[in-house]
Symmetry: C3
Subunit: 469 residues, 3 copies
């Protein structure tokens, strides 16, 4: 059995003087409240405040980072407790946990290991490393703790020092959980974000059905271009009432367009037909990004674009288990031509706040930093998804900062549904950012007092400002 303990200097640069500065910077931001402006936690957790069930269902089954790695080594998803498309599970949670535990070495060198060790140590006070040998201790300790009052969602939210967290919902969502949270006596700030992909993307499963539902929900005729836009405006207003300060767009590419009204009407008709041409679908998504930007100028919602994932790359797995099981693979992404129509129209307006993310790191220094370092409307989201990791964040800072500066970035996003890992992720980001700042100080590229200011900005101020929180 091996000890588990989080070293206080973990993730800081090795060089001693640099590490000292990093440590000092980190001390000054470690306890700042968490701003979580983009993520995928379930608002019903906070609305109902029910106990989580057990270690497996909370920590393993919903975490696609874990599922993918275990699956890549030949471990069937069924045996990990993942329900199939019908919702049925065949594995006993304890058995699934044991399988995970026996394969915990697979996560060596990955951010999952860092996040999980933090959760095990800081949330559940475990002091031995997870392994086949310690699997049951872990399962029992965690599952028992979860039954207690202080491990309910709201208690954890408060304990984690979360100042505000945004969830993500689609326009057809009626946001009851958010209403419950708003109206209850708990002070936690849980807000929504407007993610309209299901009613914007003609290739989304059930697109036309979703348009019908949107029509019903809004009393607008969503088969007409005008009615459709009005429905968006109405839902955006409703989302804003439920706290939303942002929209989010998960398109395959960051393509944008700026068509005439007549072209839009024609295109909207086409994408509602029985078979949609892929080029029309792409153009419609492109046009809708520009429409969303136009609406943002009116209602003030910050706009996020998360492009570049080939979703559901593994059809057999998708058929059996559905989405989000680790089979989404990044593809090369082009931003300079893609964003030009939108930026030509609205990019010079500093009232617009357009935050762009990427899964293609080659665009950091080549495309995104130069764009963000020029257009008043454009800012860069943090290192995302596969790149939300120590090395990924370092590459981000090193490739972005010299051209975009710090001030065209927006702080950290945890972007997770793994609620318990949220403080671990912010802690990791704060450590890496302080390490990066310390390196600049030691190379005399920044004064220490400037690094201290920036540490606060990166850990707290930038996210709060960029997302209007």
């Amino acid at each position: 059995m091996h000890k588990l303990s989080l070293h206080p200097d973990r993730l800081f640069p090795a060089h001693d003087a640099t590490r000292s500065i990093a440590r000092k910077l980190y001390e000054s931001v470690r306890d700042l409240p968490i701003i979580s402006p983009h993520g995928h936690t379930d608002p019903s957790w906070f609305a109902k405040n029910e106990n989580f069930t057990n270690a497996t269902d909370l920590l393993l089954v919903p975490d696609h980072y874990l599922l993918r790695m275990l699956y890549s080594q030949g471990i069937p998803l069924e045996s990990l407790g993942v329900p199939d498309a019908s919702g049925a599970t065949s594995a006993d949670p304890r058995e699934a946990w044991r399988l995970f535990a026996a394969n915990y070495h697979l996560f060596r060198g990955t951010p999952s290991r860092i996040w999980l060790d933090w959760v095990f140590s800081e949330v559940f006070d475990l002091d031995v490393l997870l392994s086949g040998e310690t699997a049951d201790t872990y399962f029992d300790t965690i599952t028992n703790a979860l039954q207690r009052e202080e491990f309910r969602p709201r208690a954890l939210f408060d304990r984690f020092g979360i100042e505000v967290i945004a969830t993500t919902e689609n326009p057809l969502d009626t946001l009851e959980s958010h209403a419950t949270i708003r109206d209850c006596d708990w002070n936690g700030r849980v807000i929504t974000a407007y993610r309209p992909d299901p009613v914007i993307d003609p290739e989304f499963e059930g697109f036309r059905f979703n348009l019908d539902a949107l029509s019903k929900l809004t009393d607008e005729d969503c088969t007409s271009w005008k009615g459709y836009l009005a429905a968006h405006r109405q839902r955006r207003d409703f989302f804003r009432e439920m706290g939303a300060t942002s929209t989010d767009h998960g398109h395959p590419t960051p393509a944008t367009a700026d068509l005439s009204e007549a072209e839009c009407e024609d295109l909207f008709r086409k994408v509602q037909s029985d078979t949609v041409d892929p080029a029309d679908a792409e153009l419609f998504r492109a046009q809708m990004l520009t429409e969303m930007a136009t609406m943002s100028l009116d209602d003030g919602l910050v706009m996020q674009i998360h492009p570049g994932s080939f979703r559901n790359h593994n059809p057999a797995l998708f058929d059996r288990f559905g989405r989000d099981k680790g089979a989404d693979i990044p593809v090369q992404t082009e931003y300079v031509h893609a964003l030009q129509p939108l930026l030509a129209k609205h990019g010079n307006d500093p009232r617009l706040s357009l935050i762009v993310f990427t899964l293609d790191e080659t665009t950091y220094a080549r495309e995104l930093a130069p764009l963000a370092g020029h257009y008043p409307a454009l800012k860069l989201g943090p290192a995302w998804w596969f790149h939300d990791s120590p090395e990924g964040m370092r590459r981000y800072r090193r490739m972005v900062t010299e051209t975009a500066g710090f001030y065209n970035t927006v702080g950290f996003n945890d972007d997770t549904r793994a609620f318990l890992s949220i403080p671990a992720r912010h802690d990791l980001a704060r450590r890496i950012d302080c390490g990066f700042l310390a390196e600049l100080v030691v190379e005399h590229r920044l004064e220490e007092w400037e690094a201290a200011e920036l540490a606060q900005d990166l850990a707290y101020n930038f996210a709060k400002a960029a997302y209007k929180l």
Copy 2:
């Protein structure tokens, strides 16, 4: 008020033994003369040797690195003293400077900060950091200094230890300033470089008008392929008389072609018509790179290709303020297929010296280092534009050296119109290169005496040899 002082160890690696070696290497190259084989200073400065006017007009208004960053944060270019397309300015220079100074924190972590702090400290002896508070002190100190004899262009040139500087002119330029400099009693070596884009690129503003002008200037019929080529030869000869040792080509892509005479004649006719097909324009530029290489084999001019920028990405800004205001954005660039026709024709000839640059760092290790590590005619220019920065240079050395070696690179180019920053840029490059060499020494990948030789090569010899200076 914060102190401004340039730390003697700035930009060296943090590790102590490495830093010691870097420092020693740097000491041996710090005072070498500056070879500036590619840049955009105005030769009339040195021809007329008039005093610069004030801090804002010298340091802020012409510097697109500064304009873009300030603009990205919503600061209007008008308020920074940038003249509109008609040449009119609306801002008071002191007010513009104050705005810049109050936002100087935006440049934290960027190379502009490093260059400017050097200029402020070394050229103007300022010892407090630029900020809103010190804006007037700065403006007055700099503006007053600029009225003095020893801050005139030639005095600064001599003080900076510039051995030779190349400017960049187009074939229609009559190079009077260069003639004045050549004929005067000042010994500074200011040479031109042949940049024929305006008469080569059918998509350049006024292409056909430029051809007419070229015909008049050369007495050749530049509407015929033969006359057009003869005109190039004539102007190249004239540029060589004015000191030119190189040509420079700022094409959108590095595409080259090797067409037959008949195809060339036909293509040249097409690109002179009222509407030019983009594919024809691209093919014509491609063919002309090969023609330029052929001429280089005759007249010995070194050939530079600077591709991969999407110029004037922001149409509204372009309409209002014109070119070079920070809205040029790099795009993905392909070299292996693009350069093949030219290299197949002339790449095996060691008398040709073709220096290629890139804004797409993904091509360093994948395409450019393998090409330069094979073809006798090909060499790699230094980290360029957005990548002319500490991290950019480090990436360049790390990605290029193992495959291209040091000896297929050409030393440093400052590539700037910001005259006062030239020594700062060379100093930065020397520091980073010495740091990189020191790292190789500490890892026992290079002996210290070899690093010392290479430090001289990178700082001085390579540029001088590659550009035949």
Copy 3:
């Protein structure tokens, strides 16, 4: 004259505590046997066990890394002893060696320098650096040593601690050398690998001629789709008898396809015609990758894909000297769409072992690590060719590990025909990997005992397991 000595700490990270850990890890793997699962040594060396001839013919003429660099600086290949297409050489070996020696500085900062210095020092006990001055000493020392018994191929194989080495042969090869080695009294394990490009790639020189030869060799009708597949199965079986545990595929791209039987038959007819459409050739290669995977599921051969090289970029050089003279240039490579058909069909089967390599480092973090971190059948080959270098390996580990983990990688491949450099290459890889692990330990991202386990895995276990050796 400068000393040559290999520093015991070479290639370890500079930071002292990190270096100590790296050194300790390295001590534990330094003397592990060499597993060389993919390479290009000549099996006849081990079959005949004849003495190598001289320094030039052994170390210079066959090494395309050396030829390319020397050629890039204008040194004609003739003068280095490279035979032309007719097999004639014009240079005296000693003169060729002198030319190489006088230009040895060109290799500063390249892996060739590291490999060669190891060979000179460890194999030939030389203790001065190679230079013009020491050229003759080197030539004589090496050439004389090569005449001795203990420098014959089998003796060196044993001395190098090679447990197993794989060569690479095409299906038309009759593997006599392998039979000789198998049947002789020497215990060295030299196995083949099945590289069917000449009978799979319709654009390969002599494709149809090769199909005829394959028909004759197998008694199958290789003009019919069924016969052709049967011939492959037969030759794979023969190769397996000669020790093969893997196949290898050097396609221009990693494109795969999954066509119907009828489509395959039709396509196979087309690619046997007089002129082959490039798209048909590409589709055929793509389909054949999937066919090879299907066969691998039956016969257990591990499958390797090495795509992304633009072969013979320099036509004049190719005409004069043939293949493999340093004119193969990497191109951008796309994997996500390309591999999808094969992965959709077989990617979920953990019995398949598909090892993918790349020359395009941008795909490490973006495409390959996410794919390998998901599909049970997919693993990542090590940093390849131009990237088989200190910086290349570091980039590989830093970009791959966080998403693929260590356990979806396959250890090191030397992939070389430079037999004497094999231990140098493995030594380099072990040093760099131990340095990387040490960095994770010092940043408290890994415990030291875990790093020790992984050091063994990366140096020995992974290659053995992944290649079923």
